[in-house]
Assembly symmetry: C2
Homo-oligomer: 343 residues x 2
Amino acid sequence: MPQNDTVNRRLVLAAHPKGAPTPQDLRLEEVPVPQPAEGQVLLRTLYLSLDPYMRGLMNVVGPSYAEAVKLGAPMAGGAVSRVAASKHPHFRVGDLVLGNAGWQDYALSDGKDLMPLGDMARPSLALGGLGMPAFTAHYGLLDIGQPQPGETVAVAAATGAVGSVVGQIAKLKGARVVGIAGGADKCKYAVEELGFDVCLDRRDPELAKKLAEACPDGIDVYFENVGGDVFDAVLPLLNNHARVPVCGIIAHYNDKSLPDGPNRLPLAMSTVLQKRVRMEGFIILDHYGERFRRFSREMGEWIATGKVKVREDVVEGLENAPQAFIGLLEGKNFGKLVVKVAD
Amino acid sequence: MPQNDTVNRRLVLAAHPKGAPTPQDLRLEEVPVPQPAEGQVLLRTLYLSLDPYMRGLMNVVGPSYAEAVKLGAPMAGGAVSRVAASKHPHFRVGDLVLGNAGWQDYALSDGKDLMPLGDMARPSLALGGLGMPAFTAHYGLLDIGQPQPGETVAVAAATGAVGSVVGQIAKLKGARVVGIAGGADKCKYAVEELGFDVCLDRRDPELAKKLAEACPDGIDVYFENVGGDVFDAVLPLLNNHARVPVCGIIAHYNDKSLPDGPNRLPLAMSTVLQKRVRMEGFIILDHYGERFRRFSREMGEWIATGKVKVREDVVEGLENAPQAFIGLLEGKNFGKLVVKVAD
């Protein structure tokens, strides 16, 4: 049910952010709702996903795996939408789909990028616990990290969309899990609700010391999604043959230039060498074909049986997406961040 | 035939180097030749291997994979030796063996660390082209780097004991090979004798630009044995799914502290992520059991048939080992550096 079925509100990129994005880097526009041509569907956005990778789309040159958003164009992003009009043989009005509507009320699609969601009870899960972030956790942890029973797994952003799933799956696989999260509430949640063995506050000035104490047997798998101080604290604790899946370095997405020294790269390379570390970057988009089905089956069961808990941080209203996104990069969200755009 | 069969000259660690080692960090001592106890052999050093990893043994705390040399103890190192006296049932006087005699004329061994070399025509090859450095190249390139025909492989220290073999094996596997070496003579040798497609001078102030020109299709495998400026130049050229076996970072072995900034670690991690790079450190000692036999068979054939050329840089006299080692860390050697200690 759109609030207004003739106006499409959309958030367009007004300026490439210099460092951290500001509200002025995005502009709310009102344009007419587009009409589907033959073979197209009109999508009404219900839930918009906000994810750290989107920061990279705002730069002049985008990341290697996705096109940058052009100035004046709507911000890109995954969304759960309802088909509002259809000139496509496979989609009917009312169908619930996962697609790439972007930061707007309405979008057109030729259907190729749409995944039907059936009558999913909690469709926003397609953006989080049953979607890209959890798939990132599942693939990166299991295929690259390969935690063994009794090993120690460390993960930051421990209550976020990715980190929370990394830690819970690692527990299911018999590992000891040490999380790092922003603040006491999140740490409490990670331990009491998600079952992490320990969770440390990333703002603690003694983080490195406390992490060492929390990992008396070192770290076998570090799931890298933040970079920065956390990685610096992890580095000396990595065990021989440690694995480091790299899915993000959120601490650096707002960097305007190389950070001040000292240069920690030689130390990292020396650790990789001496500890025989395997470090591997991955972009989850590469793996949908071969691996999404297994993820979907396993996570579906784990969520249904309560073995993995999924927490959402729902922001109401498309107009609040910019502030929510800025907060996401600062770690203000608590759980998977989604914007509820319409019912 | 020892020059003197009652005196054992040995180079002991006199001081932990601060930065680059100096001649004063090592001290030449004369002690009596030890006598083998029951179950031991006395070894006469013929060829001593000098390798960059030895720098790590001189620090207060050694690398993870080997004990540091204690002050006053002889420097450790692999050597080809002849059995000079034996109270061990499996070794006879005159046997040629590969062992860990260290930087001295004579050493004792209980035999467990000795590999019989038979009547090998060119026994010093057991320290280079048929030994640890070439095994490092063979394992790291083939098992981690996995170059495919038509891919681009980059390697530094291109005429060194490891790099020269990396490049030649990569050529045998159908890859395009770009080397980096210190000076015009070495570069000429890499191209004309070893068959590299291109070789660039590492001292060229425009190295980064020239490397980009030499790698129009990017870099698929970077065999990391130096670090420093070369790695900085390689980083932006890495292709999606590039592999980076890490066997050494010689440019940093003399670092007294973290180098000045900027901090290049976030850039490296961002590259690992966006390009889905797999970076993997390895210590060749870990792989003798499962993999040395294959290496030995393949390299033996390649060297015998001239498919892989091996160049040695032979320094005469144990007393010249310190200066030769200091030069090795500066890249002054041309080929695998060995010290001829006795005939």
